[in-house]
């Protein structure tokens, strides 16, 4: 009962925030809508028994990444985006094609997949920090180490790209 209500509330919040992200003209409004999407997705992860991922979602996405976005918007003084000429193809066929895409995905989910479980909050809590850590440091040890190198390269790349040229 409670999980149905929570799912409906946060699914609607996610979809409304997603629409708001696409429709708002000012980047800062889009950024705040994106934080709304990420927060509601964290609650949905919690309903699906992914505790660690829900917290990581809030800290990494809702915290770190979005702070970066808002800081860059502030730094660049990004205002409302100017309207510009759209191609005739996008104007005519864009919306129908997007509706086709969502209908196709919905049909695939309905038709191809075998009957799925229904989600019962608390019936399975697999994603605690203990379980994730155990898998991460045994089976997925190599990808874990590789991704640390990736982050190091990303840090260096960001510093190199964003520094001012000294001449």
């Amino acid at each position: 009962m409670i999980d149905t209500i929570l799912f409906i509330i946060f699914a609607i919040l996610a979809i409304v925030s997603g629409f708001n992200l696409v429709l708002q003209k000012h980047p800062i409004s889009s950024a705040l809508s994106l934080i709304g999407v990420m927060g509601s997705l964290a609650v949905l992860y919690l309903l699906l028994g992914a505790e660690f991922l829900a917290m990581a979602q809030m800290i990494v996405y809702g915290g770190a990444v979005m702070v970066l976005f808002v800081l860059v918007i502030m730094l660049l003084n990004a205002g409302r985006e100017k309207g510009s000429t759209k191609s005739w193809f996008a104007q005519i066929a864009g919306l129908p094609l997007l509706l086709c895409l969502v209908a196709l995905l919905g049909f695939l989910i309905r038709a191809i997949l075998p009957p799925l479980r229904s989600v019962e909050f608390g019936s399975w809590v697999g994603g605690t920090a203990e379980h994730i850590g155990q898998l991460l440091f045994t089976t997925y040890l190599l990808p874990f180490e590789v991704i640390s190198i990736l982050i190091l390269i990303a840090i260096l790349g960001a510093v190199v790209l964003a520094r001012k040229e000294l001449d």
Binding site: G18, L21, S30, L48, A50, V72, A90, S118, L135, A154
Partner: protein, 102 residues
């Protein structure tokens, strides 16, 4: 009133993904296009976690975790690129940045 079927989560993930595609195609500000990419990554993460619930295995959550880390790295580098573009061209409109060399 029963429990929520898992396919609802997958449909929500599909809707969010398509919203991300719409933002990516239609918006003209580089920063908003970038945020749409993040929205698509989040939608896919929701699918991973849903299937992880269905299969009762947490490998899907590990994949989702890796996607999150890669998205953070991508955001850092991408925003640095946006900073450089703005410094060189003085605009954030994506259709004004149409030549490779100034």
């Amino acid at each position: 009133m029963g429990h929520v079927p898992l396919s609802w989560y997958l449909v929500l993930s599909a809707i969010l993904f398509v919203l991300g595609v719409a933002g990516f195609v239609y918006r003209k500000s580089i920063i908003t296009v970038f945020m749409s990419i993040e929205l698509m990554l989040n939608a896919v993460n929701l699918s991973f976690v849903s299937f992880s619930y269905e299969l009762r295995r947490i490998d899907g959550q590990i994949f989702s975790f890796f996607v999150m880390v890669v998205a953070a790295a991508e955001a850092a580098v991408g925003l640095a690129i946006i900073l450089t573009i703005f410094r060189n061209r003085g605009t954030l409109q994506i259709d004004e940045v149409d030549s490779m060399k100034l």
